[in-house]
C-alpha cells in the first residue's frame, strides 16, 4: 500500500505507539509479578534475619549444613525419578492414542486421559493417601488375597510421593508427546520403509528423534513443576525426608526467617534455570 516515497519514512507516532500499548500490559504484569518480586527476594536473601545488614550467611548455610544440602539431593533424586518414569509411561500411552485409536475416538480418549486434571491437586494427593494407606485399597487387596500377611508401608514414603507426582505428570507428558506425534508427517515413515527400515528401526531412528522436542518440553515442565512442589511430598511423603520446598516453608512458619527462605528459593530457581539452559541448548529452542 505504501508508495516508494513513503517506505523510507518512520511510521507515524501513533503507529509506533500502538505495539507498545499492546505489549505494555504483558510487560507490566511480568514486571509487577515476576521481576519486582524476584529482585525483592534476591535482596531479602542477602539480608541478615536478626538485625538486618548485608550478608552471604543465608547462602553459606545451605552449603555448610548437611541437612539443607540433603534436601536438594532428595529433590533432585525425586524429580529425576518422576521425570524418567513419567516419560516412560506417557510415551507409549501417547503413541497408542495417536497411532492406534481411530481418529474419531481420539478426542474422547484424550479427554478421558486428562480427566484427573479436573480434580483438585490437594484432593488427588489425599486420595492417593487413602489408596496407599495401611488400611487402603492396595494393602486390603494384597492381604485379602493372601499374597502378604502384613500390610506394606506404601504411604508416607518416597514411593508414595513419586506415585502422586507420576499420576499427575503422565497426563501432562501425554499431551505434549501426543501433539508432537500428530504433527509428524506419515511421509517420514513411508520413506524409511521404502529404504528398507523395519518398524523398530523406523521408530528408533526416525519417529523417536523427531518427537524428542515433545518429550523434552514435557520433561522440562515436569522437572520445573515437580522440583518446586510442596503439596505432594507434604501429604504423601510423611515428612520422612525433606525436599527443598518443604525446607523453604519450614523457615517461614514460626521463625519467619524470610531471608533464609529467599536464599533457598533463589538456589532452587538457579537449579531450574540450569535445567532450562540444558534443555534449550539440546533442543536448540533459541533458534525458534
Amino acid at each position: 500500500m505504501n508508495s516508494a516515497g513513503n517506505s523510507g519514512r518512520a511510521p507515524p507516532r501513533a503507529g509506533r505507539a500502538l505495539p507498545w500499548a499492546l505489549v505494555t500490559p504483558a510487560l507490566a504484569w511480568t514486571l509487577a509479578f515476576f521481576v519486582l518480586p524476584f529482585v525483592a527476594m534476591g535482596l531479602s536473601s542477602l539480608t541478615a534475619h536478626e538485625g538486618g545488614g548485608l550478608t552471604l550467611a543465608n547462602y553459606s548455610q545451605f552449603f555448610t549444613n548437611a541437612s539443607y544440602w540433603q534436601a536438594m539431593v532428595n529433590s533432585l533424586q525425586v524429580t529425576a525419578i518422576v521425570t524418567v518414569v513419567s516419560v516412560l509411561l506417557a510415551y507409549p500411552f501417547a503413541w497408542i492414542l495417536a497411532e492406534q485409536v481411530p481418529e474419531r475416538w481420539q478426542r474422547l480418549a484424550l479427554m478421558l486421559a486428562v480427566l484427573p486434571f479436573w480434580t483438585s491437586y490437594v484432593v488427588r494427593s489425599y486420595s492417593w493417601l487413602l489408596v496407599l494407606a495401611q488400611n487402603g485399597v492396595i494393602n486390603r487387596a494384597l492381604t485379602g488375597s493372601g499374597l502378604i500377611a502384613e500390610p506394606l508401608q506404601l504411604a508416607n514414603t518416597r514411593l508414595a510421593t513419586v506415585t502422586g507426582f507420576v499420576h499427575f505428570f503422565v497426563m501432562l507428558l501425554t499431551l505434549t508427546i501426543f501433539a508432537n506425534l500428530k504433527q509428524l508427517s506419515p511421509s517420514y515413515r513411508k520413506a524409511a520403509a521404502d529404504l528398507g527400515a523395519g518398524p523398530v528401526r523406523t521408530f528408533l531412528h526416525v519417529v523417536l528423534p523427531l518427537t524428542l522436542p515433545g518429550i523434552m518440553v514435557g520433561a522440562f515442565l515436569t522437572f520445573v513443576l515437580c522440583i518446586g512442589d510442596y503439596i505432594t511430598p507434604q501429604i504423601l511423603g510423611g515428612n520422612n525426608e525433606l525436599l527443598m520446598p518443604q525446607l523453604v516453608m519450614m523457615q517461614i512458619g514460626r521463625r519467619g526467617d524470610f531471608p533464609l527462605a529467599s536464599a533457598l528459593s533463589i538456589i532452587l530457581m538457579a537449579v531450574v534455570t540450569l535445567a532450562y539452559l540444558a534443555c534449550a541448548r539440546w533442543l536448540k529452542i533459541e533458534r525458534a
Binding site: 501513533a14 541437612s67 510423611g238 525426608e241 524470610f258
Partner: protein
C-alpha cells in the same frame, strides 16, 4: 491506518481513565467497609461460624478473618499490611513478647477482662506481661503429650514417655511436626525441665528425637497426624492431646490422651489487640466475647480443633467437659511444663536439629 490507530489509542486512553476512576471508587468503598468491620488474624479455630456469628449479630459487625500458621507467618502478614489494617490477633502465648518488641500490641485493660476466672496456671504472666503491662490474655490451652488409640495400645504403656522409643510400638507412631513441643517432650523424657533448656542440652535432645524418629512411621502437620491416628495408620501420636482426640470423640471414642508420669508440654494461645487498631472498642468487645463463658465454650469446641477453655466458667455441657477431661485439669496442670521458649539463637539451633531429625533415615 494511522488515523485508526490514533482513534484506538484515544479510546484506550478514555477507557483507562474510566477504569482508574472505577478502581479508585472501589478502593474507597472498600476502605470504608473495612473501617466498619473487625479484622482478625486468627488460627483456624476462630473461623468457625458457630463462634463468630453470635458476636456479629449481637454487635452488628462483620468479622473478617485471615488464618495463618506459625507466629513468623502471622507477624509477616502484619509487617506487609498498613498500620490499622488489623484489630486483633491470636498468637502463641509464649510469642506475645515478640509482638510487643515490634511495637504492635496495645496493653489490655485487666479490669474489663475476666482474669480472675482463668485457670491460674495458664495466665502465662511471664509471657503475656511485658514491662508491667499485660498484652495478651490466654483464651485456650491444652497439652502436647501422647495421643493414642486405646484399643490398639496398652493404656498403661502410655503413662511413660519411654514407650515412645520402645520396640513394642515401632512403626506405630506418628510425630506431630512442630519442633518446639516435641523437643519439649524429648526434654521431659530425658529428665530436663522445658523452661531451662540450653544449647548444651541439644546433643541429648537430638539423640532422643532420633530414637523417636526411628520408631515413627511419619512426621505430620495437624491434619496429616490427626488423619493418621483417626484412620488407624498409626496408633500413637507424639505431641497429640485433646486437640486431636476430643473433636473426634463422637466418631472414634477409642482415641484418648494421657499425661505420662514425666509430664506433658502445656500449649496456650492468647488474644492480643493491635496498637494501631481503628476499632479498639469493638476489638475489646470481641476479646470480651471470646473470654465470656459462652464464647469460651464455642471456642473450646470449634470445628477446627477442640481445646481447653482458659476460663473456668466456660459454659460447656457435661459431655463436652468429659471429653475434654475438664475435672482432671488441676492434676494435669500440676504435672505439665511450659512450652519451650528459646531465644532467637537457640530457636534457630532447635529448628536445625529438627531438620536433621527429619532427614535422618
Amino acid at each position: 491506518m494511522s488515523v485508526k490507530s490514533g482513534n484506538l489509542l484515544s479510546v484506550l486512553k478514555r477507557r483507562l481513565h474510566a477504569a482508574c476512576a472505577a478502581t479508585a471508587l472501589l478502593l474507597a468503598a472498600g476502605s470504608l467497609a473495612e473501617a466498619a468491620d473487625l479484622n482478625a488474624l486468627i488460627w483456624c479455630d476462630h473461623s468457625d461460624p458457630a463462634l463468630l456469628q453470635p458476636f456479629e449479630e449481637a454487635n452488628n459487625v462483620k468479622v473478617n478473618v485471615k488464618e495463618f500458621e506459625g507466629t513468623g507467618a502471622g507477624l509477616a502478614i502484619v509487617e506487609q499490611s498498613q498500620p490499622g489494617d488489623w484489630d486483633v490477633m491470636v498468637i502463641d502465648s509464649i510469642d506475645v513478647p515478640r509482638g510487643v518488641e515490634k511495637g504492635l500490641f496495645e496493653p489490655l485493660p485487666e479490669d474489663k477482662l475476666p482474669f480472675g476466672d482463668l485457670f491460674p496456671q495458664v495466665k502465662m504472666d511471664g509471657s503475656t506481661i511485658v514491662g508491667g503491662k499485660r498484652y495478651g490474655i490466654t483464651e485456650k490451652f491444652g497439652y502436647n503429650t501422647i495421643g493414642f488409640n486405646k484399643t490398639k495400645v496398652d493404656p498403661a504403656d502410655m503413662q511413660s514417655l519411654a514407650s515412645l522409643t520402645s520396640d513394642k510400638y515401632k512403626g506405630k507412631i506418628a510425630i506431630y511436626d512442630y519442633y518446639l513441643p516435641v523437643i519439649g517432650m524429648a526434654a521431659l523424657a530425658i529428665g530436663k525441665k522445658t523452661a531451662e533448656l540450653t544449647e548444651a542440652d541439644l546433643p541429648a535432645l537430638k539423640e532422643e528425637l532420633l530414637k523417636m524418629k526411628a520408631n515413627a512411621k511419619l512426621v505430620g502437620e495437624v491434619t496429616a497426624s490427626q488423619t493418621a491416628l483417626a484412620t488407624g495408620e498409626v496408633d500413637i501420636l507424639v505431641g497429640g492431646g485433646e486437640w486431636v482426640t476430643a473433636g473426634l470423640a463422637k466418631e472414634n471414642p477409642a482415641l484418648d490422651f494421657s499425661i505420662p508420669k514425666e509430664g506433658a508440654v502445656l500449649w496456650s494461645q492468647s488474644l492480643a489487640m493491635f496498637k494501631d487498631s481503628k476499632n479498639k472498642d469493638m476489638a475489646l468487645k470481641f476479646i470480651q466475647y471470646i473470654m465470656s463463658p459462652e464464647g469460651q465454650a464455642r471456642l473450646a469446641t470449634s470445628s477446627c480443633y477442640w481445646g481447653m477453655p482458659s476460663n473456668t466458667k466456660a459454659a460447656l455441657t457435661g459431655d463436652q467437659k468429659k471429653v475434654l477431661r475438664f475435672d482432671e485439669q488441676p492434676d494435669f496442670l500440676a504435672r505439665a511444663q511450659a512450652y519451650p521458649a528459646p531465644n532467637a539463637d537457640l530457636d534457630k539451633k532447635m529448628q536445625d536439629m529438627w531438620t536433621e531429625m527429619l532427614q535422618a533415615k
